[in-house]
């Protein structure tokens, strides 16, 4: 396997194979590889603008992402795309099919597309995605589009960590209300009603407007609602100009920094808790006192809280 330092060097020279291999390394994260890579990449990041795109399956998010990529390319911006699809909880495998709708961008040297499975472990996805974003950032992409179905907390986290989050709805699919229930409403900076040539598009727009009125989080930024027909590219130009507007809104109000801070803090907490879990608890599990305590609980000699107190005592002593 290539040495990660060597890969980082190649990445910074613009080698896309190195970028791809680095993403694999942070996804697998064997032997603390991610830590090393992130350490080396750190000085080269914080340049890209991150956009989250979320919507139910069938809402046309890959098509929209593809069109948005085109639009950005006509403005001579380079683009990284991270498309997240669910991993089967039963088999651990995944079918990643977002590239089907991104055929044209595929061979454009200014575009880099990567599909990722949600895989298994808690928090692992956001960690891997955030690291992949940083890799593409250091790779020099101006915009990074992160696309997910937005189901489950970790996927919501991903979208939430973008600077501008786009939520896609489709008229008459019956998922609009559900999406709002799932808390998607709070994270949307821009709402898109895609497939707007379908019946009921205006009604969906109206419902959304009403929902946004009711939203207690009164912001200065009022999320715009845009109608698009992604398959024909209609409305995509307007969408991009909304993204730009949102960006300047964030920048002129020092909110971009704030978002970055939030992002950093949640990532720090995430890495910390992951490490605490991994190093402290893993160590502990190997130790004899842990097994002893567990046995005592089973034998009804001790309750769980007391056992936890005991463990904490041991850990503190260690550190």
């Amino acid at each position: 396997m290539s040495d990660s330092a060597e890969l980082v060097k190649r990445l910074l020279k613009g080698d896309r194979r190195a970028a791809a291999k680095l993403i694999t390394l942070v996804e697998n994260d064997n032997n603390g590889q991610s830590a090393k890579i992130m350490h080396l990449l750190h000085p080269h990041t914080k340049k890209a603008y991150i956009v989250g795109v979320t919507g139910a399956p069938g809402s046309g998010k890959s098509t929209l992402t593809d069109r948005l990529t085109h639009e950005l390319r006509t403005k001579e911006k380079t683009v990284g795309v991270i498309a997240v699809d669910p991993t089967s909880p039963f088999t651990g495998g995944a079918l990643l099919g977002d590239r089907i709708r991104m055929k044209e961008s595929c061979t454009d040297k200014g575009v880099f597309i990567r599909s990722m499975g949600t895989r298994g472990s808690l928090g692992g996805l956001s960690r891997a995605t955030n690291n992949a974003i940083r890799i593409l950032d250091a790779f020099g992409k101006d915009f990074i589009l992160v696309e997910t179905v937005g189901a489950g907390q970790s996927e919501v986290d991903i979208v939430n960590s973008a600077y501008t989050s786009i939520v896609i709805l489709v008229p008459g699919m019956g998922d609009d209300i559900q999406a709002i229930k799932a808390g998607i409403l709070e994270i949307g900076d821009i709402f898109v009603v895609n497939k707007a040539d379908r019946d009921g598009a205006d009604r969906t727009v109206m419902e959304l407007e009403m929902m946004l009125e009711l939203n207690p989080k009164k912001n200065v930024w009022r999320p715009p609602i845009i109608k698009t027909i992604a398959s024909r590219g209609e409305g995509v130009e307007e969408l991009l100009s909304c993204i730009e507007k949102h960006r300047s809104y964030l920048e002129s109000n020092n909110l971009l920094e704030k978002r970055q801070d939030c992002r950093n803090e949640s990532e720090l907490m995430d890495v910390l808790s992951y490490r605490i879990n991994k190093y402290l608890l893993d160590d502990l599990k190997q130790s004899g006192s842990y097994t002893d305590l567990l046995k005592k609980i089973c034998e009804q000699k001790i309750d769980i809280y007391t056992a936890a107190d005991e463990i904490l005592k041991i850990l503190w002593k260690k550190s």
Partner: protein, 131 residues
Amino acid sequence: MDKKIRILMAKPGLDGHDRGIKVVARALRDAGMEVVYTGLHQTPEQIVEAAIQEDVDAMGLSILSGAHMALFPKIIDLLKSNNAEDILVTGGGIIPKEDIEELKKMGVSAIFGPGTPTTEIIKYIEENVKN
């Protein structure tokens, strides 16, 4: 997280028969692999570029139209010119035996003809992907 085998599944050329590739893609997923499916009507350039960006360990190409002797070599050449010949190239479809031998000489690792059990394909990929 653990290492997972990543494989690109694609239909090069204009052939629209995707029953086989879909069955195999699903079987590979069920065997725990990450399958990047790029669908129909792919040019060799698109396939190789996707394989690189997705950093796949292997690719499975399905051709039933008889264009295999033009498309496979083109893909192998592109992999070589991108220093990506470590990616395992496998294929399937309607391909006569003498062509299979020829393709293997060019660098195609395996061709799975009609009637191949998916278990055999899974086993082959698992055993031949370099760690």
